[in-house]
């Protein structure tokens, strides 16, 4: 038989206190609404804590029950003026030096009229209290005037004067007449444009900042309290509930008929959670209300609603706001989320910060270059914390502020951030590529969302080779902070611990742990990225459009990561393994888009001359199927668009190809291959200036990549800048002297300069490095033909043709030999074959000077649409 646990001992004092609270609350409950505030202040006297407690409980009671018949709209404590016969004042009524001309509206605790100064003729607005006998309301009105009159700001309604205790109507406020509709009314017609929303937000935030600077918080900011006048200015009205935070000894605070927290008087839907729970309102609760306002402007709805005041307050305290749709810039969404953080400490601390953040969103409209974000990744060794850095190029270095979560003090501005590659805790052999894969995925995602450029991991590997410590790495990469991570995998869960470290002293600035079910690994990556963005206040790209993360079959994801590992090595054999991995991933989980996109990339590579697994006629259709499937699953995949662009390019769909590449770049400006392949497209159209720009961007993102560097040389070469091409190739070979493609290109450049011996040495190197492949041999043959060693050329040609019978040899490679031999007939023959199989070389017919200019070439140029 279970027993009830003995309650903890309670001190006499708190029991007494509770009794007092209880008595006060119960008595207050028995009073009619409008008498409550007065009773409470009398009963509590100077005991502000007691008063706060009583009010809080009353507010919660209201939320917790349907006893009070409040309308479903959820106004908490709004005092409806007891009007039996319309507005109090008729037109023509004199109030001091003013004459009433018309009734405008009833709201809050008073009525607002249009009036004019009888002598000056100036049109004004006059606010009076609705119920003549209501002392509380009268005091509130005067207080409102006192507060607002201190404030002089274009976006705050100006108070001219307070008049007339003598008049029957009691005190009245004369203020600026703001002509226009309230935002609340305007929203009924639809939401404003993004520009207008930002503009209004900035103005309101500015107004709040001004008020806060005078120690006044508004406490009742909402769309019905803001009017947009005919000059388009937003004007904040109704500082009626405002409270002064200072002057504890002043007359204002002594008169406590205005509630201490404003809990009874504020509007529920805009009330910040801490206020609802009985805490003090401060600048940050105004920031919350600003967040609610922005949400309304952006969606047309309130973020927290319910059928009863209860549900509304539940939502405020516990729910996340309903998701904002995809048309809203990501940065604005994050901004609103931050204003609506449940804990005040997590919000923007000042209205000025919100204003500045809005302004920066407004400013941004084209290529966002914000910071240098270095992402490191380990490449080869797996036992030490060797950091591999991926540098992000940024033209304009804009710093973002960083705050140490642990110490609560600002660290100082950070402009570069280095990611140390994730380590792992288990001994599973697959964990290396898993951890690496996650790091790569984080980089990729950050590159798509964050307002920064992100360098590819492969390049990072090179830089890390020489770094011996965090501080040294940070110095080499000019990083201000380092992100480290550790991946823990268990049969059903995946967990990642992330730490942000200040490198000079190795101090941990921020750390967090992320854990999810294995199926949710993509959402986990998203969690980490978002946490980083929020934590270091990284700006985000307004164009960021992303599908929300979904579950992926864990085995499929692993196969995908294995495939990535193979793909990154870029050899014929590894690519074949990659295809197997991606195919396996697709069969395990057909809905995971990246695996399809990666498969497309592999097939695309198979059909190239260099890899030469087979004819594009066989592989490109497969690539196309995979790319289209990827896009069907995720239209926001930059990789899929780039793969498709590649396919379109070599199928001579020029316009489509360009569109795909541009879309890929728009989705992820940090994806180097998109730029690279786009550069090739541009080059093949003869648009050399643009091509060079794009290929340099690729190089910026992946400075140590052999593929990219060689491609740069090629573009330079085709553009006629042979000396630069030469220099570039030398630099590339300095990175890796065994890179075949670079030697091949070098051979061609040297040939251009007439340095045939040197060129031949290069061509021979190619043959040796490529293990005597037919393509390599064809290259040598072409060179020999060009340099007059005809006999050698023909001998080599025969060997190539012999091979071509049993394995795939790119027809273009053979066509070139004939071209150099001056054999137009056979050139035509092989060119036509190349054309028929849509060989990649065909796309470059226009700019590749190796071909003999003749009728066939012209015909082909027309056929592919280059003429």
């Amino acid at each position: 038989m279970p027993s009830t646990p003995t309650p903890p001992r309670v001190s006499q004092q708190s029991a007494e206190r509770w009794a007092r609270v209880k008595a006060t609350v119960i008595e207050a409950m028995d009073l009619p609404e409008r008498d409550r505030a007065v009773f409470i202040s009398r009963a509590c006297g100077a005991d502000e804590g007691l008063q706060r407690e009583v009010e809080s409980l009353l507010a919660n009671a209201r939320a917790a029950s349907n006893f009070f018949e409040t309308p479903a709209a959820g106004l908490l404590g709004a005092e409806e003026p007891a009007r039996s016969s319309g507005p109090l004042l008729a037109p023509g009524t004199r109030l001091g030096a003013y004459e009433i001309t018309a009734f405008i509206a009833a709201g809050g605790m008073g009525e607002v009229y249009r009036a004019r100064h009888t002598v000056l003729g100036r049109p004004v607005a006059i606010k009076i209290v609705a119920t003549r006998a209501d002392l509380t309301a009268k005091r509130r009105l005067v207080r409102e005037a006192q507060h607002a009159s201190v404030l002089s700001h274009p976006n705050i309604c100006t108070i001219y004067e307070v008049g007339g205790d003598d008049a029957d109507a009691g005190p009245f406020i004369v203020m600026e007449l703001v002509e226009g509709r309230s935002l609340h009314a305007r929203l009924r017609d639809g939401v404003p444009s993004l520009d207008e929303t930002l503009r209004i937000g900035i103005q309101v935030a500015d107004a709040l900042e001004h008020a806060h600077g005078h120690q006044i918080i508004h406490r009742d900011l909402k769309s019905s309290n803001i009017v947009v006048n005919d000059s388009g200015q937003a004007v904040v009205l109704d500082f009626g509930l405002a409270k002064r935070l200072d002057h504890p000894g002043s007359e204002l605070s002594r008169d406590s008929s205005l509630t201490a927290t404003g809990v009874l008087a504020g509007t529920l839907s805009h009330m910040a959670p801490e206020v609802l729970l009985g805490g003090e309102a401060d600048a940050r609760s105004d920031v919350w209300a600003l967040g609610v306002l922005l949400y309304e402007l952006v969606t047309g709805e309130l973020p927290f609603t319910g059928r009863t005041p209860f549900e509304t307050s539940s939502a405020i305290l516990g729910d996340s706001p309903r998701r904002v749709g995809g048309r809203v810039p990501f940065a604005l969404r994050l901004l609103i989320d931050r204003c609506l953080a449940k804990a005040p400490a997590s919000r923007y601390q000042r209205a000025a910060d919100v204003r500045d953040a809005l302004a920066s969103i407004a400013r941004r409209n084209s290529w966002p270059l914000v910071g240098r974000l270095l992402i490191s990744m380990r490449w080869k060794r797996w036992t030490s914390w060797t950091a591999v850095a991926v540098a992000v190029g940024g033209v304009a270095v804009t710093a973002f502020e960083f705050r140490a979560r642990l110490t609560g003090q600002p660290i100082g501005r950070i402009s570069t951030l280095a990611f140390v590659p994730m380590t792992w805790t288990d001994t599973d052999a697959t964990s290396e590529y898993y951890a690496r894969g996650i790091t790569e995925a984080l980089i990729g995602r950050l590159g798509a969302i964050a307002d920064a450029r992100v360098l590819a991991p492969a390049s990072a590997a090179r830089a890390a080779e020489t770094a011996t410590s965090r501080a040294e790495l940070a110095r080499q990469l000019r990083a201000d902070a380092i992100v480290e991570g550790r991946v823990r995998r268990s049969p059903n869960r995946i967990a990642v611990d992330v730490r942000l470290i200040e490198p000079t002293q190795g101090r941990v600035i921020w750390s967090d742990a992320f854990e999810r079910d294995r199926r949710q690994v993509l959402a986990l990556e998203d969690d980490i990225v978002r946490a980083l963005i929020a934590e270091i206040r990284l700006s985000t790209r307004p164009q960021a459009e992303l599908a929300p993360p979904r579950a992926v079959n864990p085995e499929a994801y692993e196969a995908y990561l294995q495939g990535r590992f193979e793909w990154n090595q870029r050899t014929k054999e590894s690519l074949t393994r990659a295809v197997a991995d991606f195919t396996r991933a697709n069969s395990l989980d057909p809905t995971y888009a990246p695996a399809h996109a990666a498969l497309a990339d592999c097939y695309n590579q198979f059909g190239t001359q260099m890899v030469g697994t087979g004819s594009p006629r066989d592989f490109r259709p497969r690539a196309a199927v995979a790319a289209v499937q990827a896009l069907r699953l995720d239209p926001y995949s930059a990789e899929a668009h780039a793969a498709l662009g590649y396919i379109r390019h070599y199928d001579w769909q020029w316009v489509d190809a360009e569109r795909e590449f541009r879309r890929a770049i728009e989705l992820n400006p940090s994806y180097p291959l998109a730029h690279l392949w786009y550069a090739n497209l541009l080059m093949s159209r003869g648009r050399f200036v643009e091509a060079l720009r794009e290929v340099k961007l690729a190089q910026d993102l992946d400075p140590f990549s052999l593929v990219v560097n060689t491609n740069v040389a090629w573009v330079l070469q085709v553009a006629g800048r042979h000396s630069e091409a030469l220099e570039q190739l030398r630099r590339t070979l300095a990175l890796d002297s065994t890179y075949v493609q670079a030697h091949m290109r070098l051979s061609g450049v040297l040939e251009h300069f007439g340095q045939f011996d040197a060129a031949r040495r290069e061509a021979e190197t190619v043959v040796r490095l490529a293990n005597g492949s037919a393509t390599a041999l064809a290259g040598l043959s072409a060179l020999d033909a060009a340099s007059g060693r005809t006999a050698d050329a023909r001998r080599e040609l025969s060997a190539v043709l012999e091979r071509a019978r049993s394995q795939y040899v790119a027809p273009g490679a053979i066509a070139i030999i004939y071209a150099k031999l001056g054999d137009t007939l056979n050139q035509d023959l092989w060119l036509t074959r190349a054309y028929e199989e849509h060989s990649n070389a065909m796309a470059y017919l226009l700019v590749d000077r190796q071909w003999i200019r003749d009728a066939t070439r012209e015909r082909l140029l027309a056929a592919v649409g280059l003429r």
Binding site: R9, K22, M29, L57, A64, S65, G318
Partner: protein, 206 residues
């Protein structure tokens, strides 16, 4: 009362207390026999556990339970309604509520100890139609904690909450059980709810 109209009492589980036993004890207790309570409790408790377990075993999302439904079922199983008046029913529900609370808490704790996914046992607080309830769902352990805390400085309110929340008694019935005026009970109830609501909300944040 919430007992569904017209339903006959369920036959008791084999070996368990018969309606006769329980009703007898209940009637005696209602007329002032305190000892009867001691005999009543163990009978009711075991039944309570069985019903709760059975209900929780059913496939429900988030394992939501309605304590009142549980207690109602308990009542139907154990008490011969023809012989009892609403006053003795009220008494029954009073202890049943306490017991139900303990049973749910124990169950929630054991599930938590097993660390099963979705281990939190959620309680549906839609006790009765005429009573406005604060939340659709709440964590039973959190409620228990909060209620215990409330009980540490206001035991009366804790009892009222038990009776209203867990047993679904009306204000009048509750008033009868705690021997105070319905008006007072109503106010106490509202205040207790306010306090609980605030307490639970703050915990959710923290």
């Amino acid at each position: 009362m919430n007992t569904p109209a017209g339903q006959p009492p369920q036959p008791p589980s084999p070996g368990g207390p018969t309606p006769g036993d329980v009703t007898e004890h209940l009637l005696r207790w209602s007329s002032g026999d305190e000892a009867a309570l001691q005999q009543l409790m163990p009978l009711v408790y075991s039944e309570c556990r069985q019903i709760a377990t059975r209900q929780m075993a059913r496939e429900r999302p988030e394992h939501t339970l309605s304590p009142t439904a549980l207690v109602n079922e308990l009542y139907l199983r154990l008490v011969d309604q023809r012989r009892t008046t609403w006053k003795s029913r009220a008494h029954f529900f009073g202890i049943a509520a306490q017991l139900m609370r303990r049973v749910l808490v124990d169950h929630a704790r054991s599930r938590l100890a097993q660390k099963r996914d979705g281990a939190r046992v959620m309680v549906s607080l839609d006790a009765a139609a005429h009573v406005e309830t604060p939340w659709p769902l709440a964590d039973i352990l959190a409620i228990d904690d909060a209620l215990t805390k409330l009980g540490s400085f206001d035991p009366d309110q804790q009892q009222i909450v038990e009776l209203r929340f867990f047993a679904g008694l009306t204000v009048d019935e509750t008033a009868h059980v705690v021997d105070r005026s319905p008006r007072t009970v109503k106010r106490e109830w509202q205040l207790a709810k306010a306090w609980l609501y605030r307490e639970l909300s703050a915990r959710q944040d923290g």
